[in-house]
Symmetry: C2
Subunit: 356 residues, 2 copies
């Protein structure tokens, strides 16, 4: 079984505080939308699909707290909450996607009255969570055929149950292969600065009994050079229409290394991670976080005070480095501009014609 990152319980959003893993399993109980927004910003919860779900639940929670009975003032206040949640983190598009979907429910049902809308919003947030787990299992089913018995799989950051509603994207593919009794081993990069690989991926895979070895980010090239890695699989925070992939900082380096060593480089992501409004990776905003995460991780100074540091949280891997993108619908291969359009064409048309 996989850990549960986020749940709705007694009109509260309960979040497993990932900042404290693996040392402690502590749950945050968010009783209003601001607390959810804070949990996203501070990365108590992270991972593109997971923060989409958190934002949806945050908006539902916010809706419950609005006292107005009439639609216009209710909607105005809901929009302010929407804006707060949307501003938490800029790169992962799932967050915008989930918020748009929630807003759509509100707008479509505007005639049904505020109390009904509140109920529908809570239901929709539940649906998004439930769907996400189902989507990940479908990603796993499609992806597992790309993994051979005996493979050593390199993964970066955490694209697991913790990063999603459950099961995981990249780790979902690994989980599926493992459940099919494939004899696999995972190499997890620690993923500086916030060490999601060391803290979360290792924890999650170990819970499931999947063999995992931890390395620093700088060791990936060494292992590939020695033939110790058979494939790379990562998640994604946003994918442009041409297949360029934004994901955790360091992903691009792994993709370059994979190409140099002729190792397949796979991305596992739900269709909600694709951004139809963005043509290439150049259009994806990259979050720059506080350099203290680099220079003084967890308050422990590793470089002297006052020193300049950079802290881009993501990078963009151009599509030419990507062997395939594993979605819930199917495995997409180059030429991505064409295949992405094929897979998402109908979905986008539906989205574009929706009243939100």
């Amino acid at each position: 079984m996989f850990p549960q990152t986020i749940a709705w319980k007694d009109n509260k959003v309960v979040i497993l505080d990932q900042r404290r893993l693996p040392a402690e399993e502590v749950y945050l109980e968010c009783s209003d939308a601001d607390m959810v927004a804070e949990a996203i910003t501070t990365m108590a919860i992270r991972g593109a699909p997971a923060i989409g779900i958190a934002a949806a639940m945050g908006l539902a929670l916010g809706a419950l707290g609005i006292a107005h009975k009439g639609f216009p003032p209710f909607y105005k206040e809901l929009n302010a909450i929407y804006a707060t949640l949307k501003a938490t983190r800029p790169t992962a598009v799932n967050l915008h996607w989930a918020l748009e979907r929630m807003k759509g429910v509100c707008v479509i049902n505007r005639e049904k009255g505020v109390e009904t809308i509140k109920e529908l919003l809570v239901n929709e947030a539940h649906t998004i969570l439930k769907e996400d787990i189902d989507i990940n299992k479908r990603i796993g089913r499609h992806g597992k055929d790309l993994i051979n018995d005996g493979d050593a799989i390199l993964t970066h950051c955490n694209a697991g149950a913790l990063a999603t509603g459950g099961y995981g994207t990249a780790l979902g593919v690994i989980r599926s292969a493992w459940q099919e009794k494939k004899n696999i081993a995972v190499v997890a990069t620690e993923t500086r600065p916030l060490l999601q690989g060391a803290r979360l991926t290792v924890w999650e895979l170990t819970k499931e009994g999947i063999p995992v070895t931890l390395i620093t980010d700088s060791m990936a090239g060494y292992l590939m050079q020695r033939g110790e890695i058979d494939l790379v699989i990562v998640g994604a925070d946003r994918i442009a229409r041409n297949g360029d992939v934004a994901n955790k900082i360091g992903t691009y380096t792994l993709a370059v290394l994979a190409k140099e060593h002729k190792i397949p480089f796979y991305v596992a992501a739900p269709l909600s991670t694709f951004d139809p409004t963005i043509k290439t990776g150049k259009g994806i905003p990259i979050e720059e976080r506080n350099p203290d995460e680099v220079t003084a991780p967890w308050g422990h100074r590793i470089a002297q005070e006052g020193i300049g540091g950079r802290n881009p949280a993501f990078d963009v891997t151009p599509h030419r480095y990507v062997s395939a993108i594993i979605t819930e619908q199917r495995v997409i291969r180059p030429p991505f501009e064409k295949t992405i359009e094929q897979v998402l064409g109908s979905t986008w048309q539906i989205d574009r014609s929706s009243p939100c």
Copy 2:
């Protein structure tokens, strides 16, 4: 001015304890060879040229402590100390080179009596230190012409004054360019697991007033992709006859990234870092250190107990990724098999005919 890593003082070897930088400047006073060996093994002192000097001083210190008056028992005991010092770390060849040179002094002068030999060994260790600083300044003079005004220079680990007798190899080149008033900026990778970039390079460059920005190892690709890096310069722990370069883990990844982005990749190293006995990088032994340095740095566990980790301390960059090697004699360019032979041919012949 540059910091002094190692000195001989009142028949003690005084070592700046680099494990405690940048928080504290603490000096270890080693009164016997075992203490010096311990300082090398535990990386209180590190960097290929610096541990060569430390080993030479350790052997001189060991010689002083031998009570025997006759050469045969003196030489037997010296050989045991030699073996202890040689076994401290396997990858950097400078350590072997310095110990062989010291042993040569002993053997050549065997007829002069033990007391004279002790004096000569202490002198030789001083000479090795003095020569190393001079060599680094010459490396700097040759290398600075490869740096243009306005360049952003990426460096990995610490190949600075701290890694040598003084001035530094890679940082010596940067220092030379800076002293010539070139307007340069350095980007230092933190260099996990032991963070020599964050702790040592940042400290050393800041002391000199050279602008430096700290990044995680995983951010190098991102900066290169954005055109924010003009060249890469690193040190070396051992160079094979064909130009393959062993250096701190992560160097190979930077070399692959540099090639992908058509950025020059330079190695700065003294001739003592070349190993004429090794034809290609495949012959270079790679030290595997305790995985705790990865899973629980400085006692702070980042992944749960019992998890497997890898910890190769070095990797090998094949010569095809190296734009040039900057030595004290001149800048060596491909084809390295030929140019390395040209530069070192005579040196090697002298070495081979020496009585040690």
